[in-house]
């Protein structure tokens, strides 16, 4: 189960499991977002490399305008994966409560 929607402050909220079967849905949503936003991952349980690809692709598009996504509230496992993937260098990553 994967859900993606906009929150009250205009942030992108992802919940559930972002796996290869869900990344089309995620990419379609992200493609509809014109400008950089906060992405709240507090309800995201899992992300696969396909999910990372969605974030990476969106970030590339956004960075053309000089500003990128801000990933907040990711759980420890997802932060580990971000780290392995070198995402700290590419995204602004804010831990839960940070």
């Amino acid at each position: 189960m994967f859900e993606i929607r906009l929150g009250e402050q205009g942030e992108i909220i992802m919940t559930g499991r972002l796996d290869a079967a869900q990344c089309d849905k995620a990419l379609q949503f992200m493609d509809g977002i014109p400008a950089p936003r906060v992405v709240d991952l507090v309800g995201l349980d899992y992300v696969s490399s396909a999910g990372l690809g969605v974030l990476l692709k969106t970030q590339k598009r956004m960075m053309a305008s000089g500003q990128g996504l801000r990933l907040i509230n990711a759980n420890k496992h997802i932060r580990d994966i971000f780290k392995y993937a070198g995402f700290e260098r590419i995204f602004e990553i804010v831990p839960a409560g940070g």
Binding site: A20, A50, L56, H77, I81, Y84, R89
Partner: protein, 564 residues
Amino acid sequence: MHPATTTSVGLRAEALLQILEVTRKLAAPFELAEVLAEIGEAARSVLRGERATVWLFEPEQGVLVLTGGPPGIPPIRANLSQGVLGLTARSRQVINVPDCKLEPLFDPAVDLDVDNDVRCMLSVPLVERAQLVGVLQVVDSENGVFTMEDERVAETLATQCVVFIQRERMSRSLAQAEKLDREIKLAREIQMSTLPSEMPRLADYDMAGQFCPADQTGGDTFDLVPLDERRLFLLLGDASGHGIGPALSATQMTGMLRVALRLGADLDAIFAQVNNQLVEDLPEEHFVTAFFGVLDTVTHTVDYHAAGQGPLLHFQAATGACRWLSPTTFPLGFMKFPEVDPPHQIELAPGDILGLITDGVFECENPAGTMFGTEGVEQVLRSRHEGSMSDLLARMLQAVHVFADGHPQGDDITIVLLARRGETAGRTTIQRYFPRSLDSLEGIFRFVGDFISARSLDAELHMPVCFIIEELFTNFMKYNAESTHDISLSLGHTPEQLTVRITAFDVDSFDVTHAPTVDTTKPLSERQAGGLGLHLVQQMADTLQYEYAERRSTITFTKLLEAG
């Protein structure tokens, strides 16, 4: 001694003392013949007669029987219409005949008048709780005739004697029952001794078998005999009937099988010959249902004949479904086979289980009269098929026990389980196939989650393990899209590590361990989404191996488990 003294019950003291003496003597354990002789002697003595005899009533035949004659002389039988004897039995009254010559009912044939010189007779019924036990007859009183007092003495003596006769009869039938019990127990022990004492070990296979005898009846048996390094003979039998017979039939069948195997006979020949021998040996109404099969651990097939034995269980790991197979022919021992049809065959895929189960399991009833059935077996399998077969077997027996809820076990229960293991042999390994589709991912995550929680492994493993599996699985889908074979996923663990093995069939080689490394320090503009996944797999797995053989790609990775 004062012969004239009478007691408060109106018996002369001497007679009472004699009766007490008889009672004392009879209190010691005796054979029935001795008891009867003792009673006869006591009656003759107390009643001062010439001779005395004790007839016993046989209720089944409705006759009185006189034993205790010289050895070799058969017992004398009298029906209840004959003589004073018959009248005593019918009326349950003491009959005092002062002059036998004048008594029209008197019949020398049964009334002890061998030499045709009996003068008088006292005939006394032996009765307990309104049931006729026998008749005591005393003839020729020293005093000329038997008096009314003699009648009362005789009645008192008779009351005492009945107790001892009944006691002897009861202990005799008890002893017979005990003897039968002992014999059944012995037959059971022989039956049990033919069962395999340990499970054969064969590569890629795990098996378990157990026989749980019911109290008295049943003729289950099983045998697992390795024929050579790759083949195993499987036997399950259930002989019909009650008592010792089925146990003997089951034992006989196992014996015949072993001799046939020693002689190198093949499956069809053994099946036909064992049947033909049973036809000759078994009583007409008896038969044996049996499964005769040969497992080939290289082709992973079981060739079998199921003579009235069914349903047979084939659990298919790929779908999680149970296939129930019917017997292939009628039970053994009915009639000779004119010719044996070719054996049927079951193919065992990795994770599949063959279950040979006797009807004691299916027909196990609970107090409400509902049967355990195939449904009960399936229920256990659904949650337990990935464990060891000995564990699954124990769970099945436990489920039957719980289901019966104290209802007595009516029949023998025998279960033989044979599982083809996944690619990684070992008890803590489970394996399942998943179709090449992204839709499989959800099932894979659940499969991994169940494995981790069922074995109380660190829940933190779930995410990285799923990440790696998803990456490898989707890679297999992407790079060998033309293959239609499902992808095998097996999970295993030791205290030190979790091992995951993913195998794709009919594919070209693609070594994930040599995938180009991704420089994650590059600026975003130079980063590509592709290749990142395998890079992360290499980072996250503690070990990663790739093997390719027979167009089969196998990737094995491990994650170390933290102690405690």
